[in-house]
C-alpha cells in the first residue's frame, strides 16, 4: 500500500450512500453553459413575445435582430461551447493537433484568411450602411486602376488622358447601379459565413444525433432512421427551395434552414457506420460495467470518437453550401435584401467587357474562401487521422 504522509481521500473513503442521498450538483462549467443558453432563450422570448412587434430589439441602440441573426448568434454560441471551450480545456490534445495541422502551410494561411473574413464579415456590417443605388456614381474603377472616361457617369477620381482613375473613396470600384463593391463584398462575407456555419451546424447536430442513436440502439430504431435518410436523400431539396421562392420570395433564412434540415443524410450515414465500429469496442462495455446510461455512453464515448470524420465531412460541406448560395444568388433566386457575392457577380455579368471589376472582385473572394475551406478540411483530416497517433513528443 502506498505510504503517504498527507491524508488523502482514497476510493475506500467514498461513502456511496451519502452520495446517493445528495442531489446531483452540477459543475460550474455546466451551470455557465446552461446559463448562456437560458440568456439566449430569454432574449429570443423578449424579441418575439414581449416587445411590441414593430419595435427594434434594442431600442436605444437601434439594433434590430432578425430570425437569421438569432440563428447566427445561437450558432456562434454553440461553436464557442462545443469547440472553443473543449479545445481550451484539453490543452495537451489541442497542442498535439495544432502541431499536426501546422505541417500544412497552405492550411495555416487558409485558416488565417478565413479568420480575417469572419472578423470583417462580423464587424463590418455593424458599422457600414448597406450599399445603395446611386446612378451618378456608377462604374467607378477600383483604386490604382483606370477605365475609359466615358464609362462612369461622373468620375470620382482624377481624369487623365481620357481615362478615369480609381480613388480610395471606392477601393473596389462600384457597380452599374453605383453600389460600392467593397461594402457589398463585406456584407457578402457575413452572408457566406452565416450560410456556411449555420447550415453546417444544423447539419452536424442532426447528423450526429441520428447517426449515433441509430448505431447505439440498433434494431428498429436504426432501421427507421436509416430508411428515412434514404428517402430524404432522394428528395430534391433544390425544387423545394424553388417552390418556397415562388410562394414566399427568396430569403436567406429559408435557404439556410432548408439546406440545414434536409442535407444531413450523407453525414448521418458516415456517423452511423463509424459509431457502429466504436460501439463494439470494450470501452463501451467498460462504461456499461460502470453503470453508465445510454446517454452517457453516446455523449462521452461514441460522439468524441466519431468527431474526426464529422469534422472532416463538415469542412468539406461548408464550401459546398457557400458555393450553392452563391449559385442561387447568381441565378436571382437568393435573398434580394442582402448583397451576397453571387448577387454582385451576377450584377456585373453584362459589364465584363468594360467594367471587369464588378464580377471579378467578389469572384476572387468566393474562390479563395472555397479554396481555404478545402485546404483547412484536408489539413484537419490529416491532423485528426488516428493512424498518425502515437507519434507526438
Amino acid at each position: 500500500m502506498a505510504v503517504d504522509n498527507e491524508p488523502r481521500e482514497t476510493f475506500e473513503d467514498v461513502d456511496w450512500d451519502d452520495i446517493d442521498e445528495t442531489t446531483r450538483s452540477f459543475s460550474r462549467k455546466t451551470i455557465v453553459t446552461i446559463g448562456v443558453y437560458v440568456l439566449f432563450a430569454v432574449g429570443l422570448l423578449y424579441d418575439y413575445v414581449l416587445k411590441p412587434s414593430r419595435a427594434d430589439t434594442i431600442e436605444p441602440l437601434g439594433i434590430s435582430l432578425q430570425a437569421l441573426d438569432w440563428l447566427y448568434i445561437l450558432t456562434l454560441l454553440t461553436i464557442l461551447v462545443g469547440v472553443v471551450v473543449p479545445l481550451y480545456e484539453n490543452g495537451r490534445m489541442t497542442r498535439y493537433y495544432w502541431q499536426q495541422f501546422r505541417k500544412n502551410r497552405a492550411a495555416v494561411a487558409s485558416l488565417l484568411y478565413l479568420g480575417v473574413i469572419f472578423l470583417i464579415g462580423s464587424i463590418g456590417p455593424r458599422f457600414l450602411e448597406q450599399p445603395t443605388v446611386d446612378s451618378s456614381n456608377a462604374y467607378q474603377p477600383p483604386v490604382f486602376t483606370s477605365a475609359p472616361n466615358w464609362l462612369p457617369v461622373e468620375c470620382a477620381g482624377e481624369v487623365a488622358g481620357g481615362s478615369c482613375h480609381g480613388t480610395w473613396a471606392h477601393p473596389f470600384g462600384t457597380t452599374h447601379e453605383g453600389k460600392d463593391i467593397l461594402v457589398s463584398v463585406i456584407y457578402g462575407m457575413e452572408v457566406s459565413m452565416q450560410v456556411g456555419l449555420i447550415a453546417a451546424l444544423i447539419t452536424i447536430t442532426i447528423a450526429a444525433i441520428v447517426g449515433v442513436s441509430a448505431a447505439y440502439f440498433g434494431g428498429w430504431i436504426d432501421a427507421a432512421l436509416m430508411r428515412y435518410v434514404d428517402i430524404q436523400i432522394t428528395f430534391p431539396t433544390f425544387f423545394l427551395y424553388l417552390m418556397i421562392v415562388y410562394l414566399y420570395g427568396g430569403s436567406l433564412f429559408s435557404m439556410i434552414v432548408i439546406f440545414g434540415l434536409l442535407g444531413w443524410g450523407g453525414i448521418a450515414r458516415i456517423v452511423r457506420s463509424e459509431a457502429l465500429q466504436r460501439r463494439e469496442e470494450e470501452y463501451v462495455l467498460a462504461a456499461k460495467n460502470a453503470g453508465a446510461s445510454g446517454y452517457w455512453t453516446m455523449r462521452r464515448h461514441l460522439l468524441p470518437n466519431v468527431s474526426n470524420s464529422v469534422i472532416t465531412a463538415v469542412t468539406l460541406l461548408i464550401p459546398g453550401l457557400i458555393l450553392f448560395e452563391a449559385s442561387l444568388a447568381f441565378l436571382g433566386l437568393g435573398d434580394p435584401t442582402v448583397p451576397s457575392w453571387g448577387e454582385v457577380i451576377a450584377s456585373g455579368r453584362n459589364d465584363l467587357p468594360n467594367a471587369w471589376w464588378v464580377s471579378t472582385i467578389p469572384g476572387i473572394f468566393l474562390f479563395f474562401t472555397i479554396l481555404a475551406f478545402n485546404f483547412v478540411g484536408d489539413a484537419l483530416r490529416d491532423a485528426l487521422d488516428p493512424r498518425a497517433e502515437g507519434g507526438d513528443q
Binding site: V14, A287, G291, H301
Partner: protein, 454 residues
Amino acid sequence: MGKGVSPVSDQSGAARTEAPLLSVRNLTKHYPITTGLRSKEVGRVRAVDGIDFDVYPGETVGIVGESGCGKSTAASSLIRLEEPTEGTVRFDGEDITRYDQAELKAFRRRVQMIFQDPESSFDPRMSIGEAIAEPLAVQGLTDASRRREIVVDLLERVGLAAGDADRYPHELSGGQKQRVGLARALSMNPDMIIADEPVSALDVSIQSEILALMTDLQESFGLSILIISHNLAVIRQICDRVAVMYLGEIVELGTASEVFTNPQHPYTRALLASIPTADPTDRGTGIELTGDVPSPSNPPTGCRFHTRCPELIQPDDYAFEQSVWRRVMDLRQKLDGGTVDVDAIREGVVTEREPSETPDDVSATETKARLRDEFAIPQSLGDSRAESVLEAALDDLVSGNPAAARERLATEFATPCESQSPTLEDATAGQTASCLRLENELPPTELEQTVRSD
C-alpha cells in the same frame, strides 16, 4: 505459488459454512439466429447452457476452456452486461437478475470487470485519469477534485505514477494499461472482480507481474476474483477453485489442486495433457483431441464432448483398443455429417497411379483401404465381429449407399455417451465432473491412468 491467503483457499466446497458471495444457478445465454424482416427465429447459439457455480468471499475461482466455449459470455451475462436468457445469479443473497435499472446501477459498485484487450478497453479520447474516474463520475461523484485525489491514489497503488493520469492510452504499454484497468475496477471499491482473460494479450514476462498485482490487491482488500482464461498456467498460478467449461457447460469443478493433479473429466485430462513441459524427454501423454469443435448452434446430443472424447465409452458387445474406437467413431461422425466423399478418395488414389487410369478403375478394396488410412483406422480391427461390421459398412459406403453404412454403424457401434447426458456428480470430495464413466462407475481407461501418474 502466489495463491490468495483467504482462510478458505484449500477447503473443499462441501465443507464450507459461510454463504457464497456469488451463486450462479442454471445460467443460460442463447443468441437467437433470426432471418427476414420479421426476425423469425431459425435457431439458437447456445453460448452458455445452464451453468452452476459459487464464489465465496475472498476466493479466486477460474473458468477455463477453449476459445468459443462460452466462458466470456458466462462472465458478461452473469453481471448482466448482457441479459441472461435464463437462470438466477445471487450476489450476497439477492437475485440480481430481478434488479431494475437503479438497483443494477448500485450493484455495479460491488462487482467490477477487467477486460481482455487493453488496446480496446480504454477510450482513446479520454486521459488515463478520466478513464479511472469514469465509474466514480457515472455513480454520482461530481466533485472533480475528489475524483482526482482518488485517481492519484489508485495509480500509485497499482504501480504507476500520479503524473500518468494526464497521459492518453496510446502512450502506455499493454501491461501499464492493464494496471490502469485494475485501478478502474478498484475505484468502485468492489467486493468482487471479474477478469476476462486479463493477461492473454500481454507478454509472458508481464503476465506474471499483473497476476501478482491482482493477488496483492486481493489480499489487501479481501476481494473475490472470478478469472476467465484459456491459459491453464494462469489458472494454476492464482486460483483456489477451477471450473472447466466445454461448449457452454461446466464439465468439471473442483479445487485447483485436485483438478490439476487428479482430473476427473476426459476433457480436463486432454487440456492438461496439452500443457507443454520444459522436459525435452517428455513427449506428452499422447492425448490428442480429434474431430472438429462442434458448433454451439447445434451442440451434439448426449454428452457434448462425445464427438471428440478420447475416452468414449465402448459398446458392451465389442472390444476395441480405445484409440481405434475413437477413430471408428470419427468415421461415423463424418458419415453422419455427410462429409465423407468416396469419389474424392478414389481420385486421391488415382493421382498416385498411371496417368491413363480413371477413378472408375480403382477397386473397392483399394478404396476401403484408403478410407481406413484417411481415418487412421488399422486395416484390421482386433475384434473380428467389430471388423466384420466395419467392413460391411465400408462396403455399403463404397457401393454408393452411405445411408446404409450410417445406419449399420449407428446400430452396431452405439455408445451411451451420444444418447445420455451426464450430470455433474461428486467424483471426490469437493470435486465434481460430468462424465458417464463416473456415473456408471466404469474403470478408468489407460489414458486416464497415464495422466494421473504424471
